[in-house]
């Protein structure tokens, strides 16, 4: 029975607890032993994205301390996982801390990644008879390579998509731009507000023309931004994190 240390993004903890609970439900249904280390707060991504390395360092260090005891570390967020796997190395330069970090790095997974590569989920029994639009969150896609990117010449694959495809009754939207950024980008959403919102509205319009009823992604941050636009504009679309869909059907 795999033991999982749950890594729940700070904004999910505070603003979207249902996504965290769906992750718990899902992993427990799949036979994992869950632990949620209470000491965790944030991986430091907002600080790092702003260039504030000194403010990021202590958060990175405490993250490794907190999570090093678990067999696996699983996170319902591509960008937070990418932060740990791709941007933490500079904080662990001496031999001992580097070894600790690398151990944690190698067992930290985004949720869909964990389901497909570790748990090897290859059949889902439930049904979700809706037209679902999968938004390919950028950090998961291009930093963690959770799926093929449209820019590259490579065989097409997407871990999130492969999970959704197994669900009975689901229809997946065909978009005109397969993996364009939603425009959240962290503090970018506020510092470049005009561009951020135009980007988000364009994604929503693409999903609209494709017939999306339920917009999903591996990152709640993308969905928070898109949902904000959807609700302000009254667009007939709802937003669900992929953990919520999978928890319903598994």
């Amino acid at each position: 029975m795999p033991t999982v240390g749950l890594f729940i993004p700070c904004y999910v903890d505070q603003l979207y607890p249902q996504v965290g609970m769906a992750t718990v439900k899902l992993l427990e249904k799949l036979g994992c032993e869950i632990a949620y280390p209470e000491q965790q707060t944030c991986c430091g991504q907002p600080m790092a994205n702003t260039g504030c390395i000194n403010e990021t360092r202590p958060l990175a260090q405490r993250f490794v301390e907190i999570f090093k005891q678990y067999e696996y570390v699983v996170c319902p967020s591509g960008s937070c996982t990418a932060m740990v796997r791709c941007h933490y190395a500079e904080f662990f330069t001496d031999e001992k801390s580097k070894a600790d970090y690398e151990l944690v790095r190698d067992k930290t997974f985004e949720l869909c990644e964990f389901l497909t590569s570790v748990l090897k989920v290859d059949s889902i029994s439930g049904s979700f008879p809706h037209q679902v639009g999968l938004h390919q969150s950028c950090h998961g896609l291009r930093d963690l390579r959770l799926g093929s990117s449209s820019e590259r010449v490579e065989e097409s694959y997407s871990q999130a998509r492969s999970l959704l495809e197994q669900i009975d009754g689901i229809q997946l939207s065909e978009l005109s731009r397969a993996d364009e950024c939603c425009g959240f980008g962290g503090t970018f959403a506020v510092s470049e507000e005009a561009v951020s919102c135009m980007m988000g509205k364009d994604r929503i319009a693409d999903h609209g023309q494709a017939g999306t009823e339920v917009l999903t992604a591996v990152d709640m941050s993308c969905l928070m931004h898109l949902d904000g636009l959807i609700r302000r504009d009254g667009t007939p679309m709802r937003v669900m994190h992929i953990a919520e869909i999978l928890a319903e059907v598994v």
Binding site: G20, E193, A194, M199, K201
Partner: protein, 457 residues
């Protein structure tokens, strides 16, 4: 300069911003199609990346080899430490030949050095012959894209411009008609020119030759008619051997416009008989970049523009919003290197989506370099106080989990009760076009505790 403000202005004209975004996405799509025709595309990129990395790591040796070989072919080779010296060198060559009229094919390097206004002040006529460049020249504005200089201009506007300057019919905006007018107008300029200035796409160390790629044939007409050719290049444009061009030429046009190759790929090995050829090698901060491990790979850039075409921010804010010779992702790395204080908003004009890195033919880690720039900018104290202090406060909070949970719970309770006008106002940029998330009463950690309790009973 402030990119967010410029971008917001650009987006005010929503229809136009969409048109600009669609135009550039169209070029990105053509690039994708072209790349897909070559199953070996990713291997080509890897080779190109390695060739450039090797070249940059041996740059001084290759520069010496290049200049010796070029001299053997009868080319006059000049070295310029910076843009000013470049301009002075070009002027002195022109003055020696009593040049009054120049035709110039596209050279971002000469843009970088601000060559045109410098020469014009000396009474020399400089005509940019690339159609897009000629259009922006007549409009008295800089190019907004390094490959598609006039991508931000509509054909009706070109029609008006040509009506004013080339006496085309009022209201005529058919691209074929307008291009024909430009062809005839520029033909006169080619025939009257005393000298031709070109850029350099690739300089070959082993042969001393330079390669110039165009679709229009303007570099060729500009150098085959006048008896003086001055080729201006950044020192990073070198490739070691002629056969390395096989890699780059397969990547360049496909990345830039989706064509398999440009119409003309001209190899200049010395002047033609009866003519004179000069090459000006320009540093202007490149040796400085070479010394910075985080940004060294930006010197691999072959100026294809693919990063601009794919960048969702560039497409929605336009090249002029960057106020830099080279805009877009690569420009947001190069400009702060020149003037960090002026350009500090550029590395932040980015959602870190990584699309640029995936299209770059030489595999520059563009979005990682933009991320690295943000660190430098913070270190240099260029971030506004509001940003740094809020990051310090939040970091503190995140190091004290009990305090974080307490304040989180208090904050949520307050936010849930606040009237709309307090939540949505000028102080809340998030709320300008978006709703805030629906505030939950309980955090995840609280709900999980309950869940654990229920399950463990």
């Amino acid at each position: 300069m402030n990119h967010p403000a410029q971008a917001a202005k650009f987006i005010e004209d929503e229809a136009r911003a969409h048109w600009h975004d669609e135009s550039l996405w169209f070029v990105r799509a053509k690039r994708d199609k072209a790349a897909q025709t070559l199953p070996e595309w990713e291997q080509l990129r890897e080779k190109a990346s390695q060739i450039k990395e090797h070249t940059v790591s041996h740059l001084a040796d290759y520069l010496e080899e290049f200049s010796e070989n070029a001299a053997k072919l009868g080319v006059h080779v000049h070295w310029a430490k910076d843009g000013d010296e470049h301009n002075e060198i070009v002027l002195s060559i022109l003055e020696k030949h009593s040049v009054k009229r120049i035709v110039k094919s596209k050279s971002m390097l000469t843009e970088e050095c601000h060559l045109n206004p410098y020469l014009e002040k000396q009474g020399i006529e400089v005509v940019d012959t690339d159609l897009g460049e000629r259009i922006v020249q007549l409009r008295n504005e800089p190019p907004s894209h390094i490959v598609l200089p006039a991508i931000h201009i509509k054909k009706e506007e070109v029609g008006e411009l040509f009506h004013e300057h080339l006496q085309t019919e009022a209201g005529a905006c058919d691209p074929e008609y307008l291009t024909e007018a430009a062809r005839n107008h520029l033909r006169e300029k080619f025939l009257q020119a005393d000298a031709g200035i070109t850029g350099v796409n690739f300089a070959i160390a082993e042969t001393g030759g330079v390669v110039v790629c165009t679709n229009e044939g303007n570099a060729d007409l500009g150098t085959a008619l006048p008896n003086l050719h001055i080729a201006c290049m950044g020192i990073e444009k070198l490739v070691p051997r002629a056969r390395d061009l096989g890699v780059f030429l397969r990547l360049l046009a496909r990345s830039a416009t989706g064509q398999p190759i440009t119409t003309y790929t001209s190899h200049f090995h010395g002047p033609r008989s009866g003519a004179e050829m000069h090459i000006v090698l320009v540093d202007n901060g490149r040796s400085n970049l070479l010394g910075q491990a985080a940004f060294r790979r930006s010197l691999s850039c072959i100026r294809c523009g693919a990063c601009m075409n794919t960048c969702p921010v560039y497409r929605r804010s336009g090249g002029h919003s960057y106020e830099a010779t080279v805009p877009g992702p690569i420009g947001s790395i190069l400009a702060p290197a020149r003037d960090t204080e002026k350009f500090y908003t550029l590395p932040h004009a980015c959602s870190l989506c990584g699309s640029c890195t995936d299209v770059c033919p030489v595999k520059i880690d563009l979005h990682h370099q933009l991320f690295a720039w943000r660190q430098k900018i913070a270190e240099q104290g260029l971030l506004p106080f509001v940003k740094t202090s809020s990051m310090q406060a939040t970091s503190f909070l995140f190091r004290h989990p009990k305090l974080y949970r307490f304040l989180g719970s208090v904050g949520r309770r307050i936010a849930a009760c606040l009237p709309r006008f307090l939540l949505y106002n000028k102080l809340n940029p998030w709320g300008k076009q978006r709703e805030l998330p629906i505030i939950p009463l309980e955090s995840f950690s609280k709900q999980y505790k309950k869940h654990r309790k229920d399950h463990d009973q």
